[in-house]
């Protein structure tokens, strides 16, 4: 009995005839049908009414599915799978939605360029990114970080023998008896503090 039913269903068509053609909004996976809903059918008893609505909906969903499956496909391999064999899944590319929905928050205003950004733009200075981080150390004959973790700018901190700089630590100046390593560290920290101050200033100006 179920076999006969299956074969009957398999010969049913996938095309649908509509008096007024429907509009598709594939960005929202929606279909808008302007054909009038029969008020007589709606006025009947509950079962007839729901059967009628289900029938109309089925036709519209069929049209929608037909339209969706006609969209261009992209084959993506699921990279989120942890098992070794990646099963390729077919995705359908959807266009932008037609019906516009209201936002929940206003559009963020674009950030004002900071003083440095304006200067860099004027002078044509490009950001270095990670390319300028490694420096070739002649003594060790290998590439080390210029700054950051095990950076070359910190090598003075751990040297066992440091020369006293004549200019900065002259005989009568207040810096005379301070460890030169400590002095270099203090200078580095001063630059960090200056940068944080400038960042705060930028944020204030940005508001």
């Amino acid at each position: 009995m179920s076999d006969i039913k299956e074969s009957y269903v398999s010969t049913k068509p996938v095309t649908v005839e509509k008096a007024i053609p429907v509009t598709y909004d594939l960005g929202h996976l929606a279909v808008y049908d302007t054909n009038p809903i029969d008020p007589i059918e709606i006025g009947k008893d509950e079962n007839s009414k729901n059967d009628y609505l289900q029938q109309v909906t089925r036709d519209n969903v069929q049209l929608l599915i037909n339209q969706i499956l006609h969209q261009p496909l992209t084959k993506n391999s699921t990279t989120t799978n942890t098992d070794s064999n990646e099963t390729p899944i077919t995705l359908v590319q959807l266009p932008d939605p037609v019906f516009q929905l209201p936002r929940e928050k206003p559009v963020p205003k674009a950030k004002e360029p900071t003083k440095w950004e304006l200067f860099a733009r004027k002078k044509g200075i490009q950001k270095k990114g990670k390319t300028g981080k490694l420096v070739f150390d002649e003594e060790k004959q290998e590439w080390v970080n210029k700054w950051g973790y095990k950076g070359k700018n910190k090598e003075l901190d751990n040297q066992w023998l440091v020369e006293v700089d004549e200019e900065k630590q002259a005989a009568g100046s207040p810096d005379e008896l301070i460890d030169p390593r400590k002095l270099s560290r203090m200078e580095r920290k001063k630059l960090v503090k200056k940068n944080e101050l400038q960042h705060k200033r930028n944020l204030k100006e940005g508001k």
Binding site: S10, A30, I37, L94, E104
Partner: protein, 256 residues
């Protein structure tokens, strides 16, 4: 009234950044608030509607004494505190039984409101066959009836349902993820003048179906059959409030 928190670690900083205005917005979260006169029916209907929208929901359990059309400040506070831009308030009294008020917010202030009264011929999910779909899938929509293109209240209803049950807006959609359909229908308006009293506005029929595909005459396109999974709700349109023109313009300001 809401404390502005200065982030002390990366996790709280990320939480704050999630709530900031963005060009491509997050999925809207819905907050279900039971009103002072909420009853068991409304509670069950709320649970069912929430199931359609999981996981982007929040449900309050305590009753709240709020009258949205008179004073919406409490709702605006809830919206801001919970970062939810759609609120559903359930109330019931003699004049308006089993009422659901859908409120949308823009910038945590009321944008538009509409009252939809659930009629007595509703059916809950548990009354249908136990067929469920995976949580978080994007539903398909069908809107049947010319009134959804012409009448401002019904355009509002269409916008509301699309907004609420829409998932994430993506460009790519997995075909196997198309499992359920939300169908909204309404007959034509009887009179030709739009100043008809509210009681004459046609009923909105809300249905949810699950898809069943069968082999068909064409090779690549399946024959689609529907199985109703619920909830089955018929809404009577009540009061509504449209957005102010400037707010409307700002909210519709698109960046695509």
């Amino acid at each position: 009234m809401i404390r502005s928190i200065k982030p002390k670690n990366a996790r709280s900083k990320r939480a704050i950044e999630k709530k900031q205005p963005k060009i491509k917005e997050n999925v809207k979260t819905v907050l279900f608030v039971p009103g002072r006169s909420s009853n068991k029916t409304l509670h069950d209907i709320t649970v069912d509607l929430a199931a359609l929208k999981k996981p982007d929901i929040k449900r309050f359990t305590k009753k709240n004494d709020i009258l949205p059309f008179e004073d919406a400040t409490k709702l605006e506070f809830f919206s801001e505190k919970n970062d939810c831009s759609i609120l559903v308030l359930s109330t019931s009294n003699k004049k308006r039984p089993n009422n659901l008020t859908f409120i949308r917010t823009f910038e945590y202030k009321v944008y538009d409101m509409i009252e939809l009264g659930v009629m007595n011929n509703f059916k809950l999910v548990q009354d249908f066959k136990k067929l469920t779909f995976q949580v978080g899938l994007k539903p398909m929509f069908t809107f049947q009836g010319n009134i959804f293109e012409t009448h401002p209240i019904y355009i509002h209803i269409k916008s509301l349902f699309l907004d609420m049950f829409n998932g994430e807006t993506t460009k790519l959609q997995d075909v196997s993820g198309l499992q359920h359909v939300i169908s909204v229908s309404a007959v034509e308006l009887d009179e030709h003048d739009e100043t008809s009293p509210i009681s004459k506005l046609p009923i909105v029929h809300f249905r949810v179906y699950k898809l069943k595909t069968f082999k068909s005459s064409e090779p690549k396109i399946p024959r689609v059959e529907l199985v109703e999974i619920g909830p089955r709700l018929d809404f009577k349109v009540g009061r509504h409030q449209s957005p102010a023109p400037e707010v409307h313009k700002e909210a519709m300001h698109s960046c695509w």
